[in-house]
């Protein structure tokens, strides 16, 4: 049965991550007030990616899961990137 369950994550860890998430939220809002042109959107997406990694790895316990879960996630994200990226081949060059 040991394979089926993992150690409980201490409350402290979760709370720390939560604080980090709130800080990151504050950062995006703050940065978005500064005009940086196209950079704004990349920063916003970058921070969002960091936030979501925190949620995925800690809140969602991906850290403790086997490789299979991680590979699955990677496959899904690459397919996602392809779907969005390849569509640009049409839209940007029309």
């Amino acid at each position: 049965m040991s394979e089926h369950t993992h150690e409980p994550v201490p409350y402290r860890t979760f709370i720390l991550i939560w604080v980090a998430l709130l800080i990151l939220t504050g950062i995006t809002i703050a940065v978005s007030r500064v005009h940086l042109g196209a950079l704004n959107i990349w920063i916003a997406l970058g921070v969002a990616s960091i936030k979501s990694s925190l949620v995925i790895f800690v809140f969602m316990h991906l850290r403790q899961e086997s490789k299979l879960f991680k590979i699955g996630l990677l496959v899904m994200l690459s397919i996602l990137a392809i779907f969005i990226g390849f569509t640009f081949f049409d839209v940007l060059y029309r």
Binding site: L68, V75, M76, I79, I82, F83, F86, T87, F89, D90, V91, L92, Y93, R94
Partner: protein, 540 residues
């Protein structure tokens, strides 16, 4: 032969008896049978519509129906054939029947989810049928639901789209189930290298189902929202883009064609070794090419859009990738053929269907190459050549693979054998009729006849007539085939557990298999799926 034996095995054992024992079952084999029944029913309905299409096209002008009916007919024909017949056919019916047995498991990972997925299928099917008879009448958009037409027509598009959404959901649940099952429930000794190829193809298919199907979900939801709120998401005047709709649609629907063909390829990869009594040539190449098709197949969707007004750069890239997907298919064809070399070949009915599959699929697939090349597709796009192409791969490929599977595994799951002579007659008529029908269709497409044409100019008459005649030969063949199978499963001679001399796990257990497949003890696998040494075929 005429003694009235009732089926044993999973047909009998069930915690509940009677109809509820079926409707509330969580046994993978019973669910597989439920699927199979529905799928065959759907196929017959849609095939009759196909026959009606051909009758209308027998001569120019109106013959048996008006234009609106015609448009609804091919739309419903396409929707049923794709979403309710071919996509669930092999994965949901035979996948359910066989996947757990093939990997030595007692059931799939989520049996209840499996049943839910069947109910989603039923709800989708019922809604689709309702959409024909209610509201503004049967949808008339073509199975592709292209905007802006689909947002403007008064017919019952929203309901049909919602039906397709439910069917997609069903497909997703099956996919989730199969991926998990393959990862978690392989029995002792069932290493990846010992999986039957049917399992490999189901596994690859399941990933497509999981990762591509949601896209059609959101696309159809958008169509429905567009029709209800009229927001103009695909309307240029309101900042939308009608071509983007096509991207969203094909992002799913191209990979979907591989959902339709991959499990069929798996079936063929089971049948050919068994009837050659020889290991499949190039096991790993076959396994990996399945994954390659699934992955590369997700990158080529825009080859349906060369004439849509898409950018030329996109055409360059998507045309290139399209040709890349053809390579793993070619590897498969070559490996099947070389499996025959120095074998001991028996032309039993399943083998005949498998060989016909290779031939038809080669024609369809090679025709796909002419469509994949940018210049030639400009001429062939949206002509009946495309219609010919996809009937070759979907019916000549996917459909024939399903028929092969039915002939191959019917004895296993019913414990009875059909009449071989009738099977060969049915096969021959079907094969000839099929090729006449769709070869003529391809030819008239090369001459320039657009598809979805209710009426056509006189130059196209002869070939259309030939095609219609072919469709009737095919119909006769199909009726013989179905009648023979039906008769076989009711009154056929009883057979033992291994009539063909197959080496995969299902042939080790009784026919029909018992409720939990393997009795008290879980199987332990010590050899590959195509090691025929020591396998003895039962007399039948």
């Amino acid at each position: 032969m005429s003694e009235k034996t009732t089926y044993t095995g999973f047909w009998q054992e069930s915690p509940r008896t009677g109809i509820l024992g079926w409707l509330l079952t969580t046994d993978h084999k019973r669910i597989g049978i439920l699927y199979l029944g529905c799928i065959i029913t759907m196929f017959i309905v849609a095939a009759i519509l196909g026959l009606a299409i051909r009758l209308e096209l027998i001569a120019p002008g109106r013959t048996i129906m008006d234009a609106q009916t015609y448009n609804a007919t091919f739309t419903v024909h396409g929707i049923i054939m794709i979403f309710m017949f071919l996509i669930p056919s092999i994965p949901a019916a035979f996948g359910n029947l066989l996947l757990p047995i093939h990997i030595g498991a007692r059931d799939v990972s989520f049996p209840k989810l499996n049943l839910l997925s069947w109910y989603c299928y039923i709800v989708g099917g019922v809604l689709a049928v309702t959409s024909i008879f209610s509201g503004g009448g049967a949808p008339d958009t073509g199975w592709t639901f292209y905007v802006p037409f689909s947002t403007q027509t008064n017919t019952n598009v929203s309901l049909a789209a919602f039906a397709a959404f439910m069917l997609g959901f069903s497909s997703i649940l099956t996919g989730i189930n199969f991926v998990t099952t393959v990862h978690r429930l392989r029995c002792k000794g069932m290493k990846w290298g010992r999986l039957p190829l049917f399992v490999w193809t189901l596994y690859a298919t399941a990933w497509i189902q999981v990762l591509a199907t949601p896209m059609i979900g959101i696309t159809l939801v958008l169509i429905i929202l567009e029709r209800t709120f009229g927001a103009g998401l695909f309307d240029v005047a309101r900042g939308g883009d009608p071509i983007l709709y096509q991207h969203l649609f094909w992002i799913y629907s191209h990979p979907a064609v591989y959902i339709m063909i991959l499990p069929g390829m798996g079936v063929i990869s089971e049948i050919i070794p068994t009837f050659s009594r020889k290991p499949l040539f190039g096991y790993w190449a076959m396994a990996l090419s399945s994954l390659a098709i699934a992955f590369a197949g997700s990158l080529v969707w825009a080859h349906h859009m060369y004439a849509s007004g898409m950018s030329d750069l996109a055409i360059l890239i998507f045309s290139f990738l399209t040709f890349i997907v053809a390579i793993p298919s070619a590897i498969k064809v070559f490996n099947w053929v070389s499996t025959l070399y120095k074998g001991s070949i028996e032309l039993a009915p399943p083998m005949l269907f498998a060989l016909a599959f290779i031939f038809n699929f080669a024609i369809g697939g090679l025709g796909g190459l002419a469509l994949g090349a940018a210049a030639s597709d400009i001429h062939l796009h949206d002509t009946t050549f495309v219609v010919g192409h996809f009937h070759y791969v979907m019916f000549g490929g996917g459909g024939f693979a399903l028929f092969a599977a039915m002939h191959y595994w019917l004895p296993k799951f019913t414990g009875r054998m059909y009449n071989h002579k009738m099977a060969v007659i049915g096969w021959a008529l079907l094969f000839v009729g099929f090729n006449v029908t769709y070869m003529a269709m391809q030819a008239v497409g090369i001459m320039g006849m657009p598809r979805r044409y209710y009426d056509y100019i006189p130059e196209f008459t002869t070939l259309n007539l030939v095609s219609t005649i072919g469709s009737w030969v095919m119909a006769v063949g199909l009726i013989i085939m179905f009648a023979n199978l039906w008769h076989g499963l009711r009154k056929g001679r009883p057979v033992g557990k291994n009539p063909w001399g197959g080496a995969t796990l299902e042939w080790d257990i009784p026919s029909p298999p018992p409720m939990e497949n393997f009795g008290e003890e879980d199987p332990v696998v010590t050899k590959g799926p195509y090691e025929f040494k020591g396998v003895v075929a039962d007399e039948y």
